[in-house]
């Protein structure tokens, strides 16, 4: 146990979704936490610490999982971590308001040879439902510290600290004697037979009985793991026993729940039955009203996101105004012009981009984190399950897709409420298709300029193409991301509605936002610097820049897709910011301003005089190609950053980016050539 040697005890938090695990993690560690990936995985790893009585306690937030089976990467990471012995104590969280189901995790844990404590979390909600638990009696049965708990209430954490210290001191394992008795009743005595063949001491922190149960459940990963410890004969015998077992998980699950029922039979009291579905829930899950209600609430949520976001975004908007005073100060000390330009353009704009992005991400996380926290998102998932399943998504995905009509950054950030990584990546890949608000600042202007009264038809065409695009993209990414066996239909609990825990919610969102900000700054800084160098010229005129030369050089190629070199550069710039499409056209056609400031500083307005120049320089087919290319291009640099943040994978972010680059070119090609036949 390396952790004990360094004198920093490690506590691992284990719990099903909705058990309040993140609340406890944030409550314990506050800002003293690091977010990274589990080695070689795309699963987020959160680690932090707290200090108490001169001792530092490391806290590891294990990925959310329903059990310790091998049904998902999260579950495998979780159990491998516990088995590795890196944790000194595992803190198992159960939802006291749904105790008889929630203790399944404890039953699945029993047999792991690592000291544990059991937190009966959400005790306040259980009590309000007239439920009570005799923790002392339960503790006698289980042998490990049992703590009735409210993770959202930091003032009452002393009981937790005390239990951890006791567990570290006494190192007691979950008493599973009566659970084992249950396992012995599984038909044909397979449990006993397997125990005889398995090494007595188990493997790592897995006890022999835990291994036997997983084998009965058909857990292939465990079979592979123990293969090397077995003689060939024993291995063959085990295989023949396993081939005789049908529906193993059902038998062991029955035993585990029987054990839970026995545990609770004289320790748990439920006074009154509450109504199972509240009036609001009848509406929220209604076959006709459920969906419109969900869309309405999401739209209201989108609007509400701007309330906390607006002041932050406003403050961000002030940053570029620092440019002049800084320039003056620098020229006073006669600093080189290039340095002044760099600070003015790259540094200030990076800050401006990052702050504006973070304002919106903060708002979206707060509002939709709130809807998730009180339990409403599960209802959205329920009513939209069938619709979203057609795209291979789970019901909750409707939220990021709707939010993306406002802003793709928010859409990507909103996928946080989706618990599976693959589902999250697929949802983001589809959210990029949805035309965001900035698109509507550009497309109608260009459409009416070139197509007059026919402009609405272009808008309709965009929606049609978006629909087809989504179906194709869902197939392309779905086939890579989600294995067929993972396409199981919805199995989900609808958690009871909670009152929001504002403090805990704000705490977790502040920590998250800070994490995103620091990453976003890096990405935006690098990309801005590269783009700045490409668009830099000492005189500031566009025709001396690398980007300009590049654009001119490849015009023979871009014209195949229907681009002039000007529209192609504007299209490239629209990947950084959609509004840049018009700004860059203005710079290139009118020669006004620098390419860089046209890209990052443009509000999406048409420069004076641009429309007449565009009408004489572009044909309707090239205009149409440009409209489609910009609409279906990567949304903006901040959406790309946000995608990287939520997928936690550079590979997948680049894949999505490359896919959109390619498909938007194809769409431009099609639009150009089809339009050429008409006009």
């Amino acid at each position: 146990m390396t952790a004990t040697l360094t004198n920093q005890p490690t506590i691992a938090l284990l719990g099903q979704p909705n058990s309040g695990k993140s609340t406890l993690f944030n409550g314990l560690t506050g800002a003293r936490q690091r977010v990274g990936n589990w080695p070689g995985k795309t699963v987020e790893k959160k680690e932090g610490h707290y200090d108490r009585n001169g001792l530092r306690y490391r806290v590891v937030d294990l990925p959310g999982s329903y059990s310790l089976s091998a049904n998902s990467e999260e579950e495998i990471i979780t159990r491998d971590y516990i088995a590795s012995g890196q944790a000194d104590v595992v803190c198992i969280l159960a939802d006291s308001s749904q105790l008889s189901r929630s203790l399944f995790m404890l039953a699945d844990y029993a047999g792991m040879e690592c000291p544990a404590i059991l937190l009966l979390n959400l005790m306040d909600i259980a009590e309000s439902q007239g439920k009570s638990v005799d923790a002392e009696k339960l503790e006698k049965k289980l042998g490990i510290p049992i703590v009735p708990f409210v993770a959202a209430d930091r003032k009452k954490y002393d009981v937790f600290y005390a239990a951890v210290e006791r567990a570290l001191d006494e190192k007691k394992l979950v008493n599973a004697d009566s659970l084992l008795e249950n396992f012995h009743t599984i038909e044909n005595g397979v449990f006993e037979k397997l125990l005889e063949l398995l090494p007595n001491e188990g493997l790592e922190s897995y006890s022999a009985h835990w291994l036997a149960i997983k084998l009965i459940e058909g857990d292939i990963a465990i079979l592979e793991k123990i293969k090397s410890t077995l003689s060939e004969d024993n291995y063959r015998q085990i295989q023949s026993i396993l081939s005789s077992i049908k529906n193993g998980a059902l038998h062991t699950g029955g035993c585990k729940f029987k054990w839970v029922d026995e545990l609770l039979s004289d320790t748990f009291v439920k006074k009154q039955e509450r109504p199972l579905l509240s009036k609001f829930d009848r509406l929220a899950t209604h076959r006709r009203f459920g969906k419109p209600l969900a869309i309405l609430i999401i739209l209201l949520g989108l609007v509400a996101s701007f309330i906390p976001a607006a002041p932050i975004m406003f403050a961000g908007g002030l940053i570029p105004k620092l440019g002049e005073p800084i320039a003056n100060a620098l020229s006073a000390i006669s600093a080189p012009q290039m340095l002044t330009d760099f600070i003015n353009h790259v540094i200030l704009n990076t800050l401006y981009f990052a702050v504006a992005m973070i304002g919106f991400v903060f708002g979206v996380n707060l509002v939709f984190g709130f809807l998730e926290e009180i339990g409403y998102m599960a209802r959205v998932s329920y009513v939209f399950d069938g619709t979203m399943a057609k795209l291979g998504l789970q019901g909750k995905a409707v939220m990021p897709l709707v939010v993306s009509f406002g802003c793709t950054i928010g859409g990507a950030a909103g996928t946080r409420v989706i618990d599976s990584w693959a589902q999250r990546v697929l949802t983001i890949a589809l959210a990029w298709v949805v035309p965001c608000a900035a698109t509507w600042a550009i497309v109608p202007v260009l459409s009416s300029l070139f197509f007059g009264a026919w402009a609405p038809l272009i808008i309709v065409a965009i929606f049609l193409v978006a629909g087809i695009h989504m179906m194709i993209t869902a197939k392309v990414f779905g086939s890579k991301l989600i294995r067929d066996e993972d396409r199981a239909g919805l199995i989900m609990e609808l958690p009871p509605y909670h009152k929001p825990r504002w403090k805990a919610l704000f705490r977790s969102i502040f920590v998250r936002t800070w994490d995103i900000l620091s990453r976003a700054l890096k990405v935006i800084l690098i990309v801005s610097t590269v783009f700045w160098l490409l668009t830099y010229s000492a005189s500031g005129s566009p025709d001396k820049t690398l980007l300009y030369r590049f654009g001119r050089a490849i015009e023979p190629a871009t014209i195949i897709f229907g681009f002039t070199w000007q529209t192609f550069l504007a299209y490239l710039a629209s990947m950084l910011s959609k509004e840049a499409a018009l700004g860059v056209l203005g710079t290139l056609y009118l020669g006004a301003g620098t390419l860089f400031s046209a890209t990052v500083g443009s509000g999406g307005e048409m420069a004076a005089g641009l429309s007449s120049v565009l009408l004489t320089s572009l044909t309707p087919p090239t205009a149409l190609a440009f409209i489609f290319a910009v609409t279906f291009n990567a949304p903006c640099l901040m959406a790309i950053t946000s995608t990287y943040q939520e997928t936690r994978s550079l590979k997948w972010t680049l894949r999505i980016l490359g896919y959109y680059f390619a498909t938007s070119l194809i769409l431009a090609f099609l639009a150009y050539h089809i339009a050429s036949l008409i006009f």
């Binding site: 459940e217 059902l250 699950g253 329920y382 199981a488 239909g489």
Partner: protein
């Protein structure tokens, strides 16, 4: 025995058989549905997943999967 998807809202049933691969069985047991467990149907409308109550929990289950859950009506 009758498929869970055919149970009307308000009926109480006991689960008597669950079919499916290991993955499905392990997932459905982790949410509390095992043989012999008592559940009450809350909502069963076309095109929407089923909603039922068992082990202190309101559970939503896809219609297709619910055809693999066989039950006996008790009330």
């Amino acid at each position: 025995m009758i498929e869970l998807s055919k149970i009307k809202a308000g009926q109480k049933v006991v689960v008597s058989e669950v079919k499916g691969d290991n993955r499905f069985l392990s997932r459905i047991t982790s949410i509390g549905l095992t043989i012999g467990c008592e559940i009450k149907m809350l909502y069963n409308e076309k095109k929407l997943p089923l909603l039922f109550y068992g082990r202190d929990t309101v559970v939503a289950l896809n219609r297709k999967e619910s055809e693999n859950v066989l039950v006996e009506v008790i009330a």
